[in-house]
Every structure is written in C-alpha cells, then in structure tokens.
Symmetry: C2
Subunit: 598 residues, 2 copies
C-alpha cells in the first residue's frame, strides 16, 4: 500500500517553508532541537502506520453498532488508543509539569496529521479528547483541571464537545438543553444533543462531555448559553469513577463515511439525574466553546488535507504502476503501453491534487505556527497575529474541506473504475471527507464568519496584516528563477480580492446585512484561493532558492514544487476573478429568489 | 419522500422548449398525439414509483453477492423488471411490427429518465438490454435479429456490452480476447472481460453479451477488433435456450455506489467452449460498438442528470420543511426560526442545483431530439444534425456527470449532517453518480474525443452548426423581458470559446498531437458550460414569453426558470473565461511535468 503522507514534504513544510527549528530559541522550547521534533514525527509515523492504518478499512466496513447496550467497535481501535497513549501524544504539547513535552502546536499538528492520514475515524477519539483538555486548561478551575483534565492528558478518559441538538444544528442560539442549579453549586442537566462524535464507547474509563446548555431563567439567544462539564460516570472526590451520570445513548447515526468515529444522539437526564459543573462564566458558554471550536476548525481543515493527501499518494502510486494506452503521437499500435502517469490528463489530475493537498498542508501548518506565535512569539506582534489567525480560520477550515474533495475525486479518476471500488482506499477517503464541509460549522457559516465578522474585525486590521505578509513574500521572491508566473498570478488575485472587499464593504450599510452576506460564499472562495496561492509562492520561493544546489531526488522534489506552484497559478488562481466580480457586484440573484419559484 | 422528478418541468422541456408534439406530423409518428405521450409518461412515473423507487435503498444496502454459484439480488429487482416488461418499455420505440409503439427517441429518453431517477441501479438492466437490441437492429442479420434481438424486445432476455479487459480499460486498442473461426461460421471466444454491468444474474432466461474480440490473425490496434454476439446459454434453432455457453463469472466488483447493478468479471471459454457469432463486419467491431456506446453516453449523461434531479428534489423538500436560524437582519432571538429555504446561501445551493439539473435535462433531451431528427427529420438537415450530435455527445455525457456531482454535493450541504446520513437518499445518489465520469469513456477520453476529433470533423462543420443554432436563439430572444443577462453572458461565452478554439486549432500542427490535447479538459469544460448556457437561454426565452399570461403556480414556475437562467449567467458562465484562456495559451504545465517530480 502507498504511504499515507510524504515525509519529505512534511520536512520541507516544517523546516524549509516554516522555520520550525527557530522555535527552539523561545524559552518554552529551549530544551528542544530539530532532532527532538524529528524523533517525535518518526514515532508518530510508526504508531500511525502500525496501529491506525491497519484497521481503517475494517472500521469502514463495520461501523459502530450496539451490542447488549454497549457500542461495539472493531478491536483495532482500542489497540490504537493504547498505542497513542503509550507514545504520550495526549499531553505532548502540555507543560512538563503536567507530563507533557511542551511541543510547539505546529509540531503537535504535524504529529496529528499522521493519524488523520492513516485513519481518520480512529483519530477522532484522541483529537476530541485533546481539544476538550485544551479548553479545560483555559477555562477550568484548578480543581476541575485536576478532576477532569488530568485523566484526559493521561489518555485514561476521553472527551467530547456537545453543541448541536435535533432542532438546533447550525443555529446554536436555539439550543434548549437546560441546567438547573443545585444547592451544592452543580447543575442538573436535561436535554438532547445530536451529532456527538465519540459520545459513547467503551474505549476509556470515562467520557467527559463539554455541554452547551441554558441555566434556568437565562435570556434567549447566545447570551443565555453556558458551558458545562458533564461526565458519563460521576467522579468521586478521589478521582475514581463512580456511578452512571444518566447520559443515555438514544441512537447512532449511520453515515456515508467517517464511520470509524461513533456519532451519537445523547439524552441527558434520562432515567435519573445528570449532574454537570459550570465551566467558565455563566452566559459565556459559546465563547468558551469557541476556544475548542476554533482549534477544531483548524483540525477539520488539517483532517481534510490529510485525507486528500492519502488519496493523492494512493493515486500517484497507481499511476506509476498501471500501464495503459500510448501518447496521441504514437503511431505503432504494437508499441509498448506507457505508465498512465505519462498521459497529460493524468498528470493534470495528479498536479491538481498535489497543488490542493500540499497547498492545504502549507496553510494548515502556517495557521498552527500562528497559534504558537500567539502564545510564545514576541509580545508586540501578538495582537496582529491573533487577528490574522481569526481571519484565516474560516479558510483553513473550509478550503481544504472543499478542495480535498476535488482532489479525491481526481484521485478516483486516475484509477478509473478501480478507484470506484473498495479494492482501493480512495472511495473511502472520498466518503470520509465529504463530512468536512459540514461539521464544526458548515460552509455557509464559514462564509458568514469571514465576510460578516473577520473581514471587518478591528477595522479590517486582519486583512491588512494578511496583505502585508503576502506583499512581503512577493517582494522577497522578486527575480527568483521559475516563480514569475505564481508571483504575477498571486498579485492579480490580491488586487482582485482587495477591490472586491473594498467594493462590498463600501456598500454594506446601503445593502443591509442580508444582502451584504448573500454572496459570502464567493468571499470564501476568492480569499481561499488567494491565500493558497500565497502558500504556493512561499513553497516555490524556497524551491527556487534550493534548486541550483540540489541533486537527484532533491532536485526532482523542488522541480515538482515549482511545477505545482505554476499549475496553481495557471489553472486555479484565474478562478478568483469570477468570484471577486460577483462579490463586488453585490449580485441579488439568490437574495431575490422566492421559495415558491423553485 | 420527495418526488424523484418534476412532472411540470418535464412537460415544459418536452412541449414548451422542444416541440415534441410537432413530431406527430412526421409519418412514423402519425398515429401519435400529445395524449399518447402523456399517457406513456404517466405510466412510466407510476411504474417507476411503485416498482423501482421501492427498493433503491434496499439494493444499495444489500449489494449483489453470490449464493450457491448464483448472483443474488434483492427481490424487488425481479418485480421491477416484470413491471417494466409488462408496460412494454423494452420495445416502445421499435416498429409496430416488432411489437413497439414507434415512440420518438426523445419520449423514450423521457420515459427512461423516470427509472433513472427512481432507481439507477435497477434501471441498468433494461437500459443495457435496450441498447444491445438497438445495436442488433442496426448491424444484425435478419436471422440474428430473430434469434437474439426479439427476445430482448420482449424483455425475456437481457443484454450487456463487454468491452474492457483487466489490462485494457480506457485503452480498447489493447484488448486480447480472441475469436477463433469454426467450420460452421461461428467463432470460439476466449478471454476475460472486466467491468461488465449486468454480466450475470437470474433475472432473465438468457443474457446476450456483445463482446469485442480479435479474430485470430487480425492486425494489432483497433482495426483488428470485431464484435460478437455471445449468449450466456446457447440458443437452439427454434429459439429455445440450450446448454451453457461457458461464460463464467470470475468475480463481482464491490463499488462505492451504483450497487443495484451487478458488475462482473467474466471469463469466456472457461471449462468449455464459448461460441459467438460475428455481428457486423470483421475488423469493424469498434465502430459497431460505438453505435451502442454513443447511445450509452447520452444515457449516462441522462442518468447523471436524473440522479442530480432526484437529489435536488429531496433537498428542496427538506429546505422547505426544516426550520433553523433567522435572517442576519433579525434582532430578536425569540423571534420565530425561518425555513432554511429563506437563507440566501441555501437559496444559492438550491439555485445552483436547479441550474445544473434542469440545464442538464434540457441538454439530454435536446440531444435525444437530434437522434429523432437523424432518423425522421427532414432529409436535407441530417448531415448537419449528425455532426452536431457527434460534437455534443462528449458534452452530453460528461457535463452532467460532473455537474450533477456538484449538485448532489450541494444537496447534501442543504441538509447538513442529515444529508451525510443514510436517513436520506442523497448520500446514495452522490455515491451512485460518482461512477458517471468514469464509465462509457472517462472524462479524459471525452475531452480527447471533443478536441481531437469532434471539433475538427468535417472541417469543423459541427461547431459551425452549433454556433448557428445558438446565434439563432440569441437573435430570437432579443428584447425579451428578463433574459438580457443570460443573453449577454452566453454571447461572451461563445466569443471566448470561439476564440480559444481558433487559437488552439491554428497551432495544432506546430504543437503536435500530445501538446495540442494537453488541455482538452478545458475544452470540455468551456464548451460544456457554453452549451448549457444556451440551454438556459432557450428555457428563459420560453419562460419570458409565457410569464405575462401566466398565473399562480405557472407564474412561479416561469419566474423560477428565469431566476435559474440568471443564476447560470452570473455565477457559472464567467467560469468559461479561465478555461478558454488556458486552452488558447496551449499551456505546457501538465505536459512538461515529469513523473519523478511528483
């Protein structure tokens, strides 16, 4: 089977495009070195390869089901969880005093990428657990952290996030799960939560749900929402697991893909009381939840990248091995068939994948490096970094979700009929990834977030920071061999996007919020392609500088980077214009459509 | 459950956009009337609804498998086949003397559309059978027709097409199945065929395979390929079914979707002799096969349209019923939630679907009407009609295959998480339709067919006919209310496409065949969107003319057509430019890429 990612590319992204090694000059990472990071990544590859990749298809074919009241998973999942825990990955980015390695977030994200590529379904459990613990680290009291977070860092308990309800999916303002204060300061939780990944299983001693609910008497809308820690089993004062907390599995969802991750409907307070603890301030549950959600959005984007990446690797291997047909110029029907990688249209399908998944990987790791800068970078730049990360988050989440699906479709196409069968993993990745444009905020929500919030935040400073950084990379790459096309195309895309934002922002008051947002999807598409174009310029510039000295495989690698950048410039960036024109025109076509005209 | 197609739209397409009723003035259809056609369509709806739609999901969940050496299907399939047969649809377009109704092909295609929308998997069996019979009608001897075709028309036997082999999928020139002449004029067939839909089942008394093979001593390449009738069971002189013909099922393919249609690996001549009869001329097998193949390509396109259509209908129903969120302008969090169809981004997702599936339906039926014109239209126009149909065939096949997948992705997105589950049929349609860009000629093959063959055929006359017809519709719609945007956008797309074709054709000799074809995919995209833009102008013009007098639902219907046309003009047609620029520039990016740079 093909490898699930390219180690060479990951090294390139971390050490040549990003200067991850330079992080070791920051106090928090002073004990680290490139060797430390490389060892961690090698461990991640080995654990992912040995314990995760081994049951990806098996879990797909045997989705979670209930036997004797318990959720049954394929056996490989438990072994994978144990291996992940034994490798120390649950706490690897946490303080040493908490048992962690203080890994930078960008390295942690690169670690996670291995598991996402090897087995998206099984990686869901630890990643939700890590996100849950991160939220507790930020908002939990020391007592809550001791009681509910430490077992997560040890990988003994797992975590979830419980936001949606059957009547409130994208519209969280309308959740109705209630929290009734009890005399001891805890709350009695009652309600139904939908789409809860990892909501029930027997993989861990306990499950810690983070649950959005309304304290009795709280106002309607988002201001009335608070966040609660709700364990599956109540926790005794000594930290041991006690009796059931009456969180009842009401059903499993049967999905097209992503089948390795149990997805549940949960009833809280059924057949007995469900007790929860408020975490963070009352009425500020949604903003606390967004701490986890923003991290989850980057995680979704990275997951999408890695599914696309695994598909790319599989289709590349096939294209090299499969012989079929001859060039159009070949006259002799008896001549040898060529590897299909020799056909221009197959090269197009592979280059398109490469440009999407390596561009997406660059973007996901760049965003992760901003997370590091926020916590350990120079103080004076942090406000700008925060705005840039906020601006990029909807793109980091949605762009790979959408374009990895395109990449995976291309991967299927490379294989032809074989790609449509279960003999190869690509059809599974294609089914898996189709979830990514939906969960943790649909594309519609990401578009509204970008155009309705992030672009105008702090007087538009986020967009300004982005343009400054892109401009700096454009200037730094001037005159480099082989990057002229990507530079020119990026410059054009930046101008077009900038003009479109200026146009629509200038008419925001006149248009009113509904019409202003009517083409938010085009803003997402336009800025997404522009930003990924920038990621390709950054990669191309590194390759152009390295190529003159490079030999053998290294030279081929850099040539490939330059060619993929050129592909993105010539085949993809020209798409920006149509989206920019549409956004700038404040087109009313969708807005004016009546429901009864359909 | 939502209806699987819109009867109103089908009436609109057949009688308002196309003048199907006017066919009754042609001698072959003189006994017909609109009532006859309407009765046939109503029968098709009822049979599809009652006998096909009832087991679509069941067949998806229980894919064909082998029990005691026989292929087992869900029981509904046999009942569906019987109902289809009892309704007379196997022969409905054939001569009355053969038991047919002499239905025009466009009506026959509209009949088939019902079954494709209701149950793509089960409709595969009769449609392959119909295509097989049509080929025999064209190329079979009277004796062959009596022996092998009549039982197909009666629906007693079923048919297949057997082209691909394990080592030769898209590259048919390399097939190796052999045909050794026998003394009695028949042939002994030996070899392995791959991806044979309907290749084995117990639904019919016999299966008639049309098999490409090489007569011993034939030259290499396509000129050595002949076509053979190879029955599963040998046929006695009295037409009765005899002993096994040693066509052995070697395996079933396990597909992502399209699971209702058995897909097989077949060994010919295993464990005994397989006898076949040559049909058509020796060495001209591929061109005979293309009679069926061209029909199958339109059928694939129509199938893609109808899967997209069924998904559109399902998501539309959901969007009307599901309440969630409020307009961005709503200030009161206690205010009522709105139907999600009120949100602009959901309207975008629905309008995009509508523009793709109704545009695709118009295209498929238009192409089918050309098939009628070829056989029953005025003699003097037939040469042009043939060239136009040839030119459009790769687009009719590939455009809906690609854009119905986009539509189905949008349909999933309308439902959000629910769309990703098996509680709704859309995820199944999405899996089903992903086959359509692959089978009966991949996208790569369609692109090469369009740019390498169809555009230059007869000195480019096909393209000229297309432009003449588009121009005529542009002129006829001048000044109509509400069609200005679609007219302008179409005119631009025609200019851009025309200029791109001129540019690339002018450099064909200089570029050589490989580089000339390197961006054939862009030719397909560019001309596909342009042609569908034309289909939307035709629909918009009818709607604009009808609207002033229309009332109630009819007025809404025409408004919807105009709005969807506007959507296609504003959101989709601007995509033509980037493809046209790329094609015109003869960009070398994919051509220059080396296999070892990936």
């Amino acid at each position: 089977m093909a490898p699930f990612l390219s180690k060479r590319d990951l090294q390139f992204q971390l050490y040549e495009v990003l200067d991850t090694e330079a992080l070791t000059s920051r106090p928090r990472f002073a004990d680290h070195s490139r060797e430390v990071y490389d060892d961690v990544l090698a461990l991640a590859y080995n654990v992912a390869d040995k314990y995760f990749a081994n049951h990806t298809r098996e879990a797909d074919l045997n989705e979670p089901h209930v036997v004797d009241g318990k959720v049954k998973l394929v056996p490989g999942v438990q072994a994978a969880m144990n291996a992940f825990r034994d490798a120390g990955f649950f706490s690897a980015h946490h303080d040493e005093e908490l048992g962690g390695l203080q890994l930078p977030w960008v390295v942690m994200q690169a670690v996670q990428a291995h598991f996402q590529a090897a087995n998206m379904g099984s990686s869901g459990y630890p990643f939700l657990t890590i996100g849950n613990a991160n939220l507790q680290r930020e908002f939990g009291t020391p007592e809550q952290q001791r009681k509910y977070m430490l077992p997560l860092l040890e990988g003994r308990w797992f975590g979830t996030m419980a936001l949606s309800e059957p009547q409130a999916g994208s519209g969280l303002a309308d959740i109705t799960t209630s929290a009734t204060p009890k005399d001891d300061g805890t709350y009695s939780i009652s309600g139904t939560k939908m789409w809860i990944s990892g909501g029930e299983h027997e993989l861990s001693e306990n499950i810690v749900h983070l649950v959005l609910a309304r304290i009795k008497g709280a106002p309607a809308g988002v201001k009335g929402i608070s966040l609660f820690i709700v364990p599956r089993y109540r926790v005794n004062d000594d930290g041991s697991v006690g009796e059931s907390n009456n969180v009842v599995l009401a059903g499993l969802n049967h999905k097209m893909g992503y089948r390795g991750t149990t997805n549940t409907l949960l009833n809280f307070g059924e057949g007995g009381e469900t007790v929860g603890e408020l975490i963070g301030e009352a009425g500020k549950g949604l903003s606390a939840m967004f701490h986890m959600m923003n991290e989850a959005r980057i995680g979704v984007g990275m997951g999408a990248v890695m599914l696309g990446y695994a598909g790319y690797m599989a289709s590349l291997e096939y294209a090299r091995e499969r012989r079929q047909g001859r060039p159009a110029s070949a006259k002799d029907p008896n001549g040898p068939m060529v590897s299909i990688i020799e056909h221009a249209d197959v090269k197009r399908l592979l280059l398109r994948q490469k440009s999407f998944v390596e561009g997406g990987l660059a973007l996901g790791l760049y965003a992760s490096s901003l997370v590091d800068d926020l916590s350990t970078g120079p103080e004076e730049g942090r406000a700008d970094t925060a705005l840039l990360l906020d601006l990029l988050t909807p793109i980091v989440k949605s762009w790979p979700s959408r374009y990895s699906q395109e990449a995976l479709s291309d991967a299927i196409q490379v294989l032809g009929g074989a790609g449509y069968t279960r003999d190869y993993p690509i059809e599974m990745y294609y089914r898996d990834n189709r979830l990514n444009p939906i969960h943790e905020g649909t594309e519609g929500i990401q578009g509204n977030d970008l155009l309705g919030r992030k672009v105008t935040q702090a007087g538009g400073r986020g967009l300004q920071v982005l343009v400054e950084r892109m401009t700096a990379d454009l200037q730094a790459s001037e005159g480099l061999d082989g990057v002229a096309e990507i530079r020119a195309a990026l410059q054009t895309a930046i101008s077009q996007s900038g003009a479109a934002f200026t146009a629509i922002l200038g008419r925001a008051a006149e248009l009113g919020p509904d019409l202003y947002l009517a083409n938010a999807n085009s803003a997402l598409e336009m800025l997404g392609h522009t930003v990924v174009g920038w990621m390709w310029l950054r990669q191309a510039a590194v390759a152009a500088r390295a190529l003159p000295e490079a030999k053998g495989d290294d030279a081929s690698f850099y040539q490939g980077k330059l060619q993929a950048a050129r592909f993105f410039a010539v085949y993809e960036l020209p798409r920006v214009r149509a989206h920019a024109d549409l956004l700038a025109s404040a087109d009313r076509t969708t807005f004016d459509m009546h429901g009864d005209w359909f």
